[in-house]
Structure formats: structure tokens, C-alpha cells
């Protein structure tokens, strides 16, 4: 990513058509112009030699140092670019080109903290966010990367670094919480999350229970503990926890969905339908809620099932959930004797499944 950012900002010819400054001798300028010509032809080695001659003849020749640093960067020798770019920045601190290139050069060599002031000056938010993240300044990194993404949305590299920075910020916040308030309910919840992520469910369960004992009204803890039970298919306990969460957070669509799902897994379809309908009302058009609703209502309330599953197919295109909704619809319609429709839905299920498998094979 850093290399990509750097190369995108390298200039084909920094000095083309520029007038001779007072700080440079005619001979130095001649070397510089020769270097630029060589660089245009792709002869970076000789260009570097010419730029070096220019800076030797005129030691305060800013453009000479800038072009020398630029040539090194084009050659991929970022470490060698730092010294001439530093000199160029010293001679002209207001040059955005110099600041940008120096920031990139420093970042590419692991000097993230040193790169930050240069990148800040030119508001080069993508690279700045990376430098801040590498320096442990997660909060600033998240802000910078979000600013960069505002300019180039959906950039996969920026999204990747944003995810990493957010993760770092989360971890940093957790560390602060645990060191400042080690016995707090939130600290136990954080520990439980850690244990759950490392598959140690017994300890996760203990920590969640402790958090609940300390603050019985804490929102979200029962939801998370319920997920622990759900992960080992202990649906009765999961149901109990999700039900408690819906009492603490009656407006939570997530809690209602979880409860509905746990009820469905136990075959309590009537109750599941009721809870999933409630979740759908609280937060309409959530595909997973609608899919569970469709499944739960399949044999009990076919019209409701049909409505929910069709809505999934409207919301989801060529996804696993969409294919599953088509499969469930084919089951429903086959049972209703609508054979032709069921066959079409089955074909659509197979088409999407095949597409997903092909995509998976390609990505592997």
C-alpha cells in the first residue's frame, strides 16, 4: 500500500520548463536538465549521477536535491531518497511536493513517527493514517483514514488499514479499561469477549456471569453470553439469556432477532414467528431476520413465510442468503402444489449457489 501511494505521487519531470534559481550555477542547471532528460528516457542511474553533480556544484540547489530524491524513489531506493529530500525540505520547507515525497520515503522505511509532520503538512490522509497507526496513534489514524476514504470510497487498501486501526483503537481502549478499572463489570465483559474469541467458552461464561452479577442492568452482556450458549447449541440457555436481554432492551431488534432464532432452533416456531415479527417491526428489512421469519413460518403461516422470503430475495442479490431464500420458497411452493414456480425457485437457488462456488474457486 505504501509503495502504491508513493508511486502514484512521483512526478515524471519535476523541473521541466522551470527558470534557473539564483542559488544554482549555470553548470548545475545544465546537469539538472540533462538528468531530467535521462529520467524521461528511463535512464535513472545516469539521471541520478547528473542530479548528484548538480547538488555537488550548487549545494543549496533545492530542485537538485528534490529531483535526486525523486529519482531514488522512482528507482525504489527509498532509503537513499531521504537525505536529499531532507535537504530539499530544509532549503524550502513550504514545498508540498518535497513534504509529500519525504513523508512517503520516511514511512516506507519504517520511520512512521518522523513521517507524520510531513504528511500532515500536505494533508496526505491515507499515508498519514497509516503512519499514525504504525505509531500507535489509533484514534488519529481512524480519523485520517476516514478522511482519505471520503475522497476515495471503497479503496480496499484504505479499508484494510481502517479496519486495523479500529481494531488497534478497540484493543487500546480495552487495555485502558482493564488497567484503570480491573474489577469493573465492563472489564469482566471485555475479558469474556477475549475468552470467547479464543474459544475458551468456560472462562467466557464465568466472566459474563460475573459482569451480570456486578451490574444486572448492563445492556448487551446477556446478548453476548447467549451467543456463547448458542455457539455450543445450548438453545434453552441461549433463549433464557436473549429473553432477559429483550426485557432490558425492549427496543433492540438484535435482541428480538436472537431470541427468535433461539426459539426457532428449538422448534418453537409459533413463538419464534412472533419474536421475529417484532424484530422486523423494530428494524425493518434486515435480511437475516426476514429469512429466519420465513423459515419459522414455513409450516405455520405460509403467507407470512412467503412475504418474508420474497423480501429477502428483493434485498439480497446473488448472495448465500438469497439462494437459501429461493430454496425455502421452493419448499413452500412445492408443498402448495405450485410445481412450476417451485422449480424456477430451485433453479435460481442452484444458479446462485453455482455462482458463489465459482467465485470461491476463483478467489482460492
Amino acid at each position: 500500500m505504501i509503495t502504491r501511494l508513493v508511486t502514484s505521487f512521483l512526478f515524471a519531470s519535476l523541473l521541466a520548463g522551470q527558470q534557473a534559481p539564483e542559488s544554482a550555477s549555470r553548470e548545475a542547471i545544465q546537469h539538472l536538465q540533462t538528468g531530467v532528460e535521462l529520467e524521461k528516457r528511463g535512464d535513472l542511474d545516469n539521471a541520478i549521477k547528473e542530479f548528484s553533480d548538480a547538488t555537488r556544484i550548487s549545494p543549496n540547489y533545492e530542485m537538485g536535491f528534490l529531483n535526486l530524491g525523486d529519482a531514488y524513489m522512482k528507482k525504489g531506493e527509498y532509503g537513499k531518497a531521504i537525505a536529499p529530500l531532507n535537504k530539499a525540505a530544509e532549503l524550502n520547507p513550504d514545498s508540498p511536493t518535497t513534504q509529500r515525497l519525504l513523508g512517503f520515503a520516511l514511512l516506507s522505511q519504517g520511520y512512521a513517527a518522523n513521517a507524520i509532520p510531513h504528511l500532515e503538512r500536505v494533508r496526505e490522509y491515507g499515508a498519514l493514517g497509516i503512519a499514525q497507526m504504525e505509531s500507535g496513534k489509533y484514534s488519529e489514524a481512524v480519523a485520517s483514514l476516514q478522511a482519505a476514504l471520503a475522497k476515495t470510497p471503497n479503496d480496499p487498501d484504505l479499508l484494510y488499514y481502517l479496519a486495523r486501526a479500529s481494531e488497534g483503537l478497540s484493543s487500546q481502549s480495552m487495555d485502558s479499561l482493564l488497567s484503570a478499572f480491573p474489577g469493573s463489570a465492563r472489564a469482566h465483559q471485555a475479558m469474556a469477549q477475549h475468552y470467547f474469541s479464543t474459544k475458551d467458552t468456560a472462562k467466557a461464561e464465568q466472566e459474563y456471569e460475573q459482569a451480570i452479577r456486578m451490574r444486572s442492568d448492563l445492556p448487551g452482556v446477556r446478548l453476548e453470553l447467549g451467543e456463547v450458549y448458542a455457539s455450543v447449541s445450548d438453545w434453552p440457555k441461549a433463549e433464557q439469556l436473549f429473553r432477559q436481554e429483550t426485557q432490558i432492551q425492549p427496543g433492540s431488534a438484535e435482541a428480538a432477532f436472537r431470541l427468535g432464532d433461539a426459539l426457532m432452533k428449538q422448534g418453537k416456531m409459533k413463538e419464534a414467528v412472533s419474536e421475529l415479527l417484532r424484530s422486523d417491526e423494530l428494524h425493518p428489512d434486515m435480511p437475516e431476520t426476514l429469512y429466519d421469519l420465513g423459515k419459522s413460518a414455513l409450516n405455520l403461516q405460509p403467507p407470512e413465510a412467503e412475504r418474508a422470503l420474497l423480501r429477502v430475495t428483493e434485498l439480497e442479490k446473488e448472495t448465500l442468503l438469497a439462494s437459501q431464500a429461493y430454496q425455502a420458497l421452493s419448499v413452500l411452493h412445492r408443498k402448495q402444489g405450485k410445481t412450476e414456480l417451485a422449480s424456477k425457485e430451485l433453479q435460481e437457488f442452484q444458479r446462485i449457489q453455482s455462482l458463489l462456488q465459482n467465485n470461491l474457486a476463483k478467489s482460492n
Partner: protein, 548 residues
């Protein structure tokens, strides 16, 4: 809400047992009867040959017609040592033989393998399963043993001995055969033979999977193979009609097989439990051909469109609506499959509705039966369990290699966990169902890798029951394929089903408080026969009447 998916995907260690039956009365007394000294030798190696984890079957049959069920157990075989010097399986040592145990009047068993002529298990073979049926209608049950290698048909001579008639019969098959079953697909009164084959495998073609440590490869690593159908010519020989009948059209990774007439057209259909691909339902067209209809009929995939790792299968009516349903056992992470027969040739997967979401999900099932263990008039569920990989815990701490058996009693079509009489975790495989002591309460015999078979002897109770022994005249002698209705309950006569195993061919009905029974039989010949039983708690022999 994508985070939901991520959260639910996080694997976790098993902190909670899936269910408890503490405090409820055990249905079975679980033990190994005196004389039943068999040990299932699967010969596990570091090479992780796929075949090591797959045996073995068990059959309950009354081979000597003394009125007591006997037990036939299929053994694995000796796998070559890990340096691969041998390129075939050895069955030479007696510890690798299949075994026939005759039941004595006191409930003990006597090994009669050699006396019965069954000691030659077939060198180079590796044993898998067993099917039982009276293919020559002489009144004595014959044995068909499946193997990796050459299968063997043993004709029951009626004098306590058997003769290997494989060559003459033409049913040696080949490759890797697993479950098999006798049924009469053309209703000509002679039992035909269906043989399920797993995949295209040999020791030379074996692959070992696993990145951190070696383990058995999934079936998708090996090419699929077709199943076999042998038509009984009636002269002691069979014709391979696999291609002609359309059965061979569909290649798969079959493990289990069961028969029932799912659409009520009078012809027995075939369900093949496939491992990690779509399940197959071969509809019998009634003209000697079959059409595979699982996907179109809704019996191929779960309601979520997922493929089952099908192992064993039961094809009986669990909700007493008169139509045969399907229960398919499989590997963890999804509940066992329950395909409810909705009528009109349509199934819908209703595992959650039937309560299987609470009973499975983190367990692996093999042999399976739908039998009325408490005689209340509802068929209950028994599944012998245990994972495929003997080192699965190292891959996934939520799953166990050894698992206790599952017993679930049926309450109006919904299964609820019950006390099976043991919590002993085993690597269960085959399971056969029958009334070992003729007390009217169904028992179970299950196999486990590297261990003695488990006998689940039903403790009984007060409810009434009726046992029916069919004796076909125009139909096949065993009456396989008959639809028998007793006081509104329906059973489809068969010994096939489960995994690699063959069950008591007698039909068992729990009657609850009823002291009389109305029996309605539709024989494979088409003959309809109604019988009123004024007395219950007995085994009733019903001979097929001669005219419709």
C-alpha cells in the same frame, strides 16, 4: 447484522452438555451379554486410510428359526502396516472374521461362526455391512455381506450352515460397498438386492488430509461411484440391472440405504444417504426403471439448501400420518435431517420442528432407527454416535470423537431426549433394532470401533404391543415392502435402513392402552388383507391370502 454471522461462526469449547436426562428412568439396560465376545477391528493407522473409520454392520436375524434373534457382526480387517508392505487387507486371523452368534434360551450367545461356515471372511476384503433377506423364499434368511473388495452372498441351508453362493449368484460387485438391502422392486415375489457404494478409493489412491496433523480426507477428495441394483431371476442368480434401471445414472458418495413406498403407488422406492452431496431418492417407476427425484421432491437438501453428510437413514412414519418420513444422520454443525413426507410425493425438511435442533448439531450420527421403544404408539428415535476423526478434538474442541448414544422419545411427532441407560461415549457405527427376548419391547444392538457391541435391552413397561410376522405367498416370503397399518400406525416392512445394518424383520407396534388391534396390510403383490386381533401382546404370523 453481518456481525451476527461472524459471531455465530466463532468456534468454542464445549462447556455445556447438550442435554440432560438425569432423573428420568432409563429405557434400556445396557450390557454385553455372555458369549458375545466380538470386538470390531478397524485397525487404525497413522496413514489414516479412510476405510479404517467406516465399519461395521450388525444384523439381527433368526437364522435357525428357533424363535430367538441371533446376531451377525461384520468385522473390518487388518490394514497393512504403515510402511505399506501389504497392498491388500488380511482377514486370515480369526480376530478379523465376521461372527455369527446364536442366541441361547437364557439370553446368552454362542459363537457359531465356524460351524455355520462363515469363518472365511474373504482375504483381501475389508468388511463393511450386512443385508438379510430370504432371496430364494425357502423360509430361511440369507446373508449378504458388503466389503471393500468382493461382497459375499451366503445362502442359508436351513440346517444351521451357510454356503457362499456369490459366484453363482453374480453379486460380488467390487469397489467399496457399504450399506445394502433386499427389497422387491418389481413386485415379482422375489427379493432383489440394492448395494450402496461409497467412493472410488484404494489404498494406493488414499489421501491424507489435515494441515497440522494427519486425518481422514472428506469424501469430496475422491471420485463418486454409482450404486448397484441386482434383479433376482428366481433361479439363484441375479442380473446386474444398475444401468438398465437408471440407478447407475447417478454417481454419489452413498453410505446408507432404506426402502419405502413414499408416494403410495405400490412400488418400493429407494433412498440413499449420501455423504456431503445431495441425498438421492430413486422413485420406482413401476416398469423396472427408477428416476432420481430428491431435489424435485425436497428430500435432497436441508431447508437452508445445505448438503447433509448423510450416513444412516430411517424411512418410516414418525408422525403417524401414514406416510413414510426420512431421518438422516450426519456430521456436526447441522442438526440431523428430518424430511417430513407432506404427501403428493413432496418432502419438507423439518428437523427443527421435530426437535432435532435440541438433540443434534454438535454430534455425529451413524446407525439410526425409528422404533416405538415405550410402546405408546409413537415411533421413537435411536442414534448411535461418534465422530469420523479419532483426533477431531485437536481440530475442533466443540466436537468429540466418542459420543454417547441418543435416545429421543416421540411426543406427538416431536422428539425429546430420554435416558438411554448409558452415558458411555463410544465411536458408534452400526445399529440394528429388534426384540431380542421376545417380550414385545424393542431392543437395540449397536457396534463401536475397537470395542464389543452394545446391547440395549429394553426394560419394558405396562403398555400393550403387537408383533407381526409377515409370510408372503404371492409376495416375497419376508413380506418386504408391505405397508402394514395397525390401529392407525403404519410401518413399511423392511430389514434395511440404519447404517450398514439389518434389523429384525418382524413388525413391531406399540399399542398404548389398546387391547385389540385392527391390522390392514397392503402386500407388494397388491393384495389387501385386513385382520382383527382380539388379543395383543403377542407375535402374530400373518400369511398372505391367495386372492385380492
Amino acid at each position: 447484522m453481518r456481525a451476527r454471522v461472524l459471531l455465530s461462526c466463532l468456534g468454542v469449547s464445549a462447556l455445556i452438555t447438550a442435554g440432560s436426562t438425569v432423573g428420568t428412568d432409563p429405557v434400556f439396560r445396557v450390557y454385553t451379554p455372555k458369549g458375545l465376545d466380538f470386538v470390531l477391528q478397524n485397525s487404525p493407522t497413522m496413514k489414516k486410510y479412510l476405510i479404517e473409520t467406516m465399519p461395521g454392520g450388525v444384523a439381527l436375524l433368526d437364522y435357525n428359526r428357533d424363535g430367538l434373534l441371533d446376531i451377525f457382526l461384520v468385522n473390518g480387517g487388518r490394514v497393512p502396516s504403515s510402511n505399506g508392505k501389504l497392498d491388500f487387507f488380511s482377514r486370515h486371523e480369526p480376530s478379523y472374521w465376521n461372527r455369527l452368534y446364536r442366541q441361547n434360551p437364557d439370553g446368552s450367545f454362542t459363537d457359531v461362526t465356524e460351524k455355520a461356515g462363515l469363518s472365511k471372511a474373504g482375504d483381501t476384503n475389508y468388511g463393511m455391512g450386512v443385508a438379510v433377506g430370504d432371496y430364494d423364499n425357502d423360509g430361511y434368511p440369507d446373508l449378504y455381506v458388503t466389503n471393500y473388495g468382493r461382497n459375499i452372498l451366503y445362502h442359508n441351508n436351513g440346517d444351521g450352515t451357510f454356503t457362499d453362493v456369490t459366484e453363482k449368484a453374480g453379486v460380488a460387485a467390487g469397489g467399496w460397498s457399504v450399506s445394502a438391502g433386499f427389497f422387491d422392486y418389481d413386485n415379482d415375489g422375489k427379493l432383489d438386492l440394492f448395494v450402496v457404494r461409497y467412493l472410488d478409493w484404494s489404498m494406493q489412491k488414499n489421501k491424507t488430509c489435515g494441515t497440522q496433523m494427519p486425518t481422514y480426507c472428506p469424501p469430496g477428495e475422491f471420485p463418486p461411484v454409482s450404486n448397484l441394483l441386482f434383479h433376482n431371476r428366481g433361479d439363484g442368480t441375479f442380473e446386474d440391472v444398475s444401468v438398465k434401471s437408471g440407478i447407475a445414472v447417478k454417481k454419489g458418495h452413498g453410505l446408507g440405504v432404506a426402502f419405502a413406498d413414499f408416494d403410495g403407488d405400490g412400488f418400493a422406492d429407494v433412498f440413499v444417504a449420501n455423504d456431503a452431496i445431495e441425498q438421492y431418492l430413486f422413485h420406482n417407476n413401476g416398469d423396472g426403471t427408477f428416476r432420481e427425484v430428491a431435489l424435485d421432491s425436497g428430500a435432497a437438501l436441508t431447508v437452508d439448501g445445505k448438503k447433509l453428510s448423510g450416513m444412516g437413514v430411517a424411512f418410516q412414519d414418525y408422525d403417524n400420518d401414514g406416510k413414510p418420513d426420512l431421518v438422516v444422520t450426519q456430521l456436526p454443525h447441522e442438526p440431523y435431517g428430518v424430511f417430513h413426507n407432506d404427501g403428493q410425493g413432496v418432502f419438507s425438511e423439518q428437523g427443527l420442528e421435530a426437535g432435532l435442533g435440541l438433540l443434534s448439531g454438535n454430534v455425529s450420527g451413524w446407525g439410526v432407527g425409528l422404533e416405538d421403544f415405550n410402546n405408546d404408539g409413537w415411533k421413537d428415535l435411536f442414534i448411535i454416535q461418534g465422530h469420523v476423526f479419532d483426533n477431531v478434538e485437536k481440530y475442533d474442541s466443540t466436537i468429540k470423537y466418542l459420543e454417547p448414544p441418543l435416545l429421543a422419545l416421540n411426543h406427538d411427532g416431536r422428539f425429546e431426549r430420554a435416558n438411554a441407560g448409558t452415558d458411555e461415549a463410544v465411536a458408534g457405527r452400526g445399529a440394528a433394532f429388534g426384540d431380542l427376548n421376545n417380550d414385545g419391547w424393542m431392543d437395540v444392538v449397536a457396534t463401536r470401533l475397537q470395542g464389543a457391541p452394545l446391547v440395549f435391552m429394553n426394560r419394558g413397561g405396562k403398555a400393550h404391543w403387537l408383533g407381526i410376522v409377515l409370510e408372503g405367498t404371492k409376495s416375497n416370503r419376508d413380506g418386504y415392502g408391505a405397508r402394514v397399518e395397525v390401529n392407525g400406525q403404519v410401518r413399511f416392512a423392511t430389514a434395511a435402513g440404519s447404517y450398514l445394518s439389518s434389523s429384525d424383520p418382524r413388525l413391531h407396534f406399540g399399542l398404548g392402552a389398546a387391547t385389540t388391534a385392527l391390522i390392514d396390510i397392503r402386500w407388494p403383490s397388491g393384495i389387501r388383507q385386513k385382520v382383527a386381533a382380539d388379543k395383543v401382546d403377542q407375535y402374530l404370523v400373518i400369511k398372505e391370502k391367495s386372492a385380492p
